[in-house]
């Protein structure tokens, strides 16, 4: 297809694809099989002529192991975790307990999978607190060990038997059909919208139909409900999605599926003018490192509709509030991340830091509450997003 340049790109992509690690969504029997394989390997090494205690190879969830890949088709850039491993060994004193914790969680998950039960992370905490008090004494430890198991087995957290939860809701010009269920028409719903199920298996099998021309991703629930009540999806044929803050996996899977089934629909984000808002936009756009194994698959080409630096003149002075320490911390970490290199977003972030102020979307209500809808329509019509 192309000259040298393209060929190089092709090869690079293929090579990077080979280095890419991801978590699979598996059925219970497949996860059990992976656990059994881990055990067998461990026993095999222990029973060999030169017995050794096997290390646990976990995909490293650190920013050093995170890379960015640019998709060949389309404009999706996403985080992925490479194959750099973190080896946890029983022989090293400072990680010995971590080693044992991983095995304890493996044991518990195996039992749960055998019984076909699902648990919440809190319930997991109590079970581990009760059965292995020497190794677990806080929820944070349990959560970390769960992520270690995800890195070890390369399967999604949901596949391990952890109950999925989702904060996402959707409303607008979309018809959703689950297997053997009635079709849900998201344009007939009240402002709370339709809850997006946390069950990733179900989500992957939804059938969608739509006559929308845009997909709006809204940071906050209050704005989502306002736009839903004003029926903005009738002024601009569109679908609205929110995760009420930082997006959970289920909402991102949902959005990703929409983007695959309706590839011509631009996905536009409406977030507050503050570092957290930009961070949320980036999570939808690139994925996150903490859940790097599950995240890369659900990156979408989300564009920034607002609020941006050129919208600040629309907002009265009193709605501009000083940024707090936490905001500056988030800004600093975004600035130093590789995510935003060579990106227009970096200029916007710089303007944000220099201005030192944050503005919520609700500030636009100073012009009346219909103003928000008009603002969005104007920007969309002028293709004012990137």
């Amino acid at each position: 297809m192309a000259g040298n340049g393209h060929c190089n790109n092709n090869r690079l992509l293929f090579h990077s694809h080979q280095r890419l690690c991801s978590a699979d969504i598996l059925q219970p029997h497949e996860v059990r099989a992976r656990i059994e394989a881990t055990i067998l390997k461990f026993l095999h090494l222990l029973a060999s002529p030169t017995p050794t205690v096997a290390d646990l190879p976990l995909i490293a969830r650190r920013s050093k192991n995170a890379r960015f890949r640019h998709s060949l088709f389309g404009d999706v850039t996403s985080i992925y975790l490479s194959q750099s491993l973190c080896r946890i060994s029983l022989m090293k004193i400072n990680v010995a307990k971590t080693f044992i914790r991983v095995w304890k969680v493996l044991e518990l998950c195996f039992q749960l999978l055998v019984h076909g039960k699902q648990v919440t992370q809190r319930e997991l905490f109590y079970k581990l607190l009760s059965s292995s008090p020497k190794y677990f004494d806080s929820q944070v430890q349990v959560n970390k060990s769960v992520q270690d198991v995800v890195s070890l087995l390369c399967c999604s957290r949901n596949s391990l038997g952890l109950m999925p939860s989702s904060r996402g809701t959707v409303v607008g010009r979309l018809l959703i059909q689950e297997e053997n269920q009635e079709i849900v028409d998201c344009s007939l719903l009240g402002p709370a919208g339709q809850a997006i199920t946390g069950n990733l298996h179900l989500l992957e099998n939804f059938v969608f139909q739509s006559n929308a021309r845009y997909i709006f991703v809204i940071e906050k629930d209050a704005i989502f409900q306002r736009l839903a009540e004003d029926r903005i999806f009738n002024h601009i044929p569109s679908i609205l999605v929110t995760a009420k803050g930082y997006p959970d996996i289920a909402t991102r899977v949902f959005l990703h599926r929409l983007s695959k089934i309706f590839p011509t629909l631009p996905i536009l984000a409406l977030v507050d003018w503050n570092p957290a808002g930009l961070a949320i936009l980036c999570t939808y756009k690139f994925g996150s490192i903490g859940m790097g194994l599950e995240a890369y698959r659900y990156a979408c080409d989300v564009k920034w509709l607002g609020l941006r630096s050129d919208d600040l003149m629309l907002v009265p002075q009193d709605s501009k509030v000083m940024m707090k320490t936490r905001d500056l911390q988030i800004a600093k970490s975004l600035m130093s991340s590789d995510m935003l290199q060579d990106h227009k977003y970096k200029e916007e972030l710089r303007a944000m830091i220099q201005g030192g102020q944050r503005v919520e979307i609700e500030a636009l209500y100073a012009h009346g509450y219909e103003f928000l809808g008009r603002y969005m329509v104007t920007k969309v019509v002028q293709d004012d997003y990137f």
């Binding site: 919440t120 109590y126 009240g190 009193d318 609700e362």
Partner: protein, 365 residues
């Protein structure tokens, strides 16, 4: 609250009252009279000074009045905010639009002096002056609650057939006045504090197995959840049970359902649920199942302060003294106990054994 009927809270009546109120103010100003605005005070509870103290919190009487005068400088700002809010609600009613408290704040942030609390108070004052509830002013909040189970109802034009999929969560409707045709095939209603417990019950198909309705406010219940619950009870006349963690914040949530919140004290009569029965969990449940001591988490300093504050509330001494004993027991032992701890021996212990047995045997407070 004196002569409140359904008819008198419809938009045209409220608009009339707004005009009437403003007219009186203007007349006073024109004639050089001091304008006084009298706002009734309401409370759901008070702090008892001694164990023998009595109070009138239970009687739905007002707790005196506040007089706001245009002559006092400190009151002038409060009146200014009140008038602005009246103007905004008038617009909302005329246009048939809804807004949240936060939306209203943002319409004039300079006047409201960067303080949401000023707006909240003005909204309460407006409700008291106009003898109506907050939703009558078209001030609503984003709905938070979830419901599932053997229930069917209609909201505006949409049919919610929860009974078809009794383990699926539906959002609690925000415009509760639009809810009609409620039909329940349930034996009781169970209110749970946390979303995770709601999920656990959904996962274990609790509503199907026990023919009931489960509702959660996901923490402190918002007004739509409490209104919806009140509506269900009024329409279906079912027993209602409440399941919270054995910790001070769980108790506070139980008390909010039972007696209402101070912030919405003027509307407590419509929002509170005197019929609610406290199903647990209790410290005696931990002993009954032989829960290991380490699963009982220690009370933090904040927990203790909260529990002590709760114990001073008058209704815990006058109306529900048996509830007070449970809180005192918890303070004494200095441990708290979460519902999830019951999963230690068996994941489904809560839904398959604990709850059905308790309800069957009537072991509630």
């Amino acid at each position: 609250m004196g002569g409140r009927s359904e008819a008198s809270t419809n938009p045209s009546h409220l608009l009339q009252r707004i005009r009437g109120f403003t007219l009186v103010l203007i007349e006073d100003l024109c004639k050089g009279r001091t304008s006084l605005v009298s706002i009734d005070r309401y409370r759901t509870h008070c702090k008892l000074i001694g164990p023998g103290d009595k109070c009138s919190c239970n009687s739905d009487m007002t707790d005196g009045r506040e007089i706001i005068s245009m002559e006092k400088e400190s009151h002038a700002n409060r009146l200014d905010v009140l008038l602005r809010v009246l103007l905004i609600t008038q617009k909302l009613l005329l246009e048939g639009k809804h807004a949240s408290k936060r939306d209203i704040y943002y319409m004039h942030p300079s006047i409201f002096i960067a303080d949401q609390a000023n707006v909240d108070r003005a909204i309460s004052d407006t409700c008291i002056l106009l003898h109506c509830s907050r939703h009558n002013l078209n001030v609503v909040s984003a709905g938070k609650g979830l419901v599932m189970g053997c229930l069917r109802f209609k909201e505006s034009n949409r049919m919610f057939n929860c009974i078809r999929r009794p383990s699926v969560a539906y959002p609690v409707p925000v415009y509760v006045e639009e809810v009609k045709h409620i039909m329940g095939f349930a034996r009781y209603i169970l209110v749970v504090e946390k979303e995770t417990v709601f999920q656990r019950l959904a996962n274990d198909k609790f509503c199907e197995m026990n023919r009931c309705i489960v509702i959660t406010g996901r923490g402190y219940p918002d007004v739509p959840t409490r209104r919806f619950l009140r509506l269900l009870i009024d329409e279906l006349s079912l027993p209602v049970y409440c399941l919270v963690d054995c910790d001070p914040f769980g108790f506070d949530i139980l008390l909010t359902y039972r007696f209402g919140s101070m912030q919405m004290a003027y509307d407590a009569k419509l929002l509170r649920i005197p019929e609610i029965r406290w199903l647990g969990i209790f410290s005696s449940d931990a002993e009954a199942i032989g829960l290991p001591r380490r699963c009982l988490l220690p009370l933090t300093h904040r927990d203790k302060k909260k529990a002590e504050a709760l114990l001073q509330r008058c209704y815990l001494h006058q109306q529900v003294p048996h509830w007070r004993l449970e809180i005192e027991k918890m303070l004494q032992r200095e441990v708290k106990f979460e519902i999830e701890a019951l999963s230690v021996f068996s994941i489904s212990m809560l839904s398959e054994e604990h709850l059905p047995a308790k309800i069957q045997e009537g072991r509630h407070l």
